[in-house]
């Protein structure tokens, strides 16, 4: 049995009592030997790694979670009952791996117009967010994943995505599209980007319309 010092007990108690992930700095604040925080957390992480609950880090927050081996025994706690649609899943994956990325780039990769759904749903769940605009005509919104996405998928950071390195090595991280090449040949290269060009003026339009 490990010799348990008070700091470790404090960390354990706080993480246990919080029903959501706790910032590392909030843990540091509560312990005496602040410079030992990494050591403590590592000890606890290892100690719980084979148990029914595991300690893990996502972003800059720590939390205890039930072990993934026990999913089928814990269905009583399940809150997310709905399945995530295939369109939303693919869109999420593309945003996660290719971020930041515009909607029309996502459409190019999937080879399908997004229409409704997907993006607004993913924003609703809190997994994606707008993160700037691409510096091309129309300045379309770029989408990225959120900290909540990392937290809920148990990722320490975005480089922790499964198969990320493999994807990079495979060369599939390029956003180019065969269809874009096609429209080049059709000598109508702007066609696919048309939608992006109207956008800038809209806010102004709306303003003048409504401020009478």
């Amino acid at each position: 049995m490990m010799n348990l010092n008070k700091d470790i007990k404090i960390i354990e108690a706080i993480l246990f009592a919080s029903s959501e992930p706790v910032l590392e700095e909030d843990l540091i604040e509560k312990i005496n030997e602040k410079n030992k925080i990494n050591e403590y957390l590592k000890t606890l992480e290892e100690f719980y790694s084979t148990r029914g609950i595991n300690l893990s880090k996502t972003g800059s927050k720590w939390s205890f979670k039930t072990s993934p081996d026990l999913t089928s025994e814990l269905t009583i706690f399940k809150k997310q009952k709905r399945k995530i649609s295939r369109a939303a899943t693919e869109t999420l994956a593309i945003i996660a791996y290719y971020q930041p990325i515009t909607r029309s780039e996502i459409e190019n990769i999937r080879g399908v117009q997004m229409g409704r759904g997907s993006i607004d749903h993913l924003v609703e769940i809190g997994w994606i967010r707008p993160s700037g605009r691409k510096k091309i005509p129309g300045r379309p919104t770029l989408w990225s994943t959120t900290d909540l996405f990392l937290e809920q998928f148990g990722l320490e950071d975005i480089n922790d995505l499964p198969n990320k390195e493999e994807l990079k090595a495979s060369g599939f991280l390029e956003k180019r599209s065969a269809i874009a090449t096609i429209s080049d040949i059709a000598e109508n290269p702007l066609d696919l980007n048309n939608e992006e060009q109207e956008e800038e003026e809209n806010l102004d339009d709306f303003l003048t319309e409504n401020k009478e």
Partner: protein
């Protein structure tokens, strides 16, 4: 006869089912490619193009409202096919058929890869679905600070609702009437009555506004009232020889 109809209906349903199963033309193409059971890197694009075109053609006969993007893809593949089959031109354009083939192959492979990793991603232990945070807050002093947590979604949705509401209001705006007014008719008749030296059938003076029944009717009415007004003021003469008969007008000069 009836059995044919039934078959058509069931084919339609089958078609909808089929198309709904795909996430777009590339996805459909990918499924067809997988059936060739070879490495995507070595897939025969020519053969694949043929399969896809056949698939779309077959269903297009039954169900004409086939999604436009599927048709665009079919057209492009037809084009690619012809480029691949035709003897090479000396003058090369920007893209050789081989480059196009390669671009398509790339897109297929990439989509296949994305489908694979999106499955891996979504199968990760997900909070509140597969793994759970602690539920207990027992035994520790907890003080609550109230904080507000509206999400970006709430904000964007609220703004969208404002936009939508404003759109709705715009839809209710009453546009200016297209009906012909008496004033307009008087002005118009004033311009032409000088040429009415002979008795002229009133109906021939009515401008035709196309097929809109209401507008035409209003035009007849307003012109009739206008001609009475002009008669009263001594510009025109109006006569009707019998009840419900034709009305004639003539310049009073």
């Amino acid at each position: 006869m009836f059995s044919d109809d039934n078959e058509e209906v069931s084919n339609k349903d089958q078609f909808n089912l089929l198309i709904n199963g795909y996430e777009g033309p590339i996805d459909l193409l990918l499924e067809l490619a997988k059936k060739q059971k070879v490495d995507l890197a070595e897939i025969s694009i020519l053969e694949l193009a043929e399969q896809y075109i056949n698939f779309i053609e077959k269903f297009n006969k039954i169900h004409l409202e086939i999604a436009a993007d599927y048709l665009v893809m079919a057209a492009w593949l037809t084009y690619l096919k012809s480029r691949l089959l035709l003897p090479k031109e000396d003058k090369t354009d920007d893209h050789t058929p081989e480059e196009l083939e390669e671009a398509l192959r790339y897109q297929l492979q990439r989509l296949e890869y994305i489908q694979k990793i999106s499955n891996i991603l979504i199968s990760r232990p997900l909070i509140d679905r597969d793994v759970f945070y602690g539920g207990s807050t027992d035994g520790i002093n907890i003080r609550y600070n109230i904080s507000y947590k509206s999400s970006l979604y709430d904000l964007l949705k609220a703004y969208s609702l404002v936009l939508k509401r404003n759109q709705t209001i715009n839809n209710l705006t009453i546009s200016s009437s297209e009906l012909h007014s008496v004033d307009q008719a008087i002005k118009r008749l004033m311009n032409i009555f000088g040429s009415l030296k002979e008795w002229t059938n009133f109906m021939t003076l009515i401008p035709n506004f196309g097929v809109n029944y209401v507008i035409n009717k209003s035009s007849i009415t307003s012109n009739f009232v206008a001609s009475l007004e002009l008669a009263k003021n001594g510009y025109l003469e109006v006569k009707q020889n019998e009840t419900f008969g034709n009305i004639f007008v003539k310049s009073k000069q």
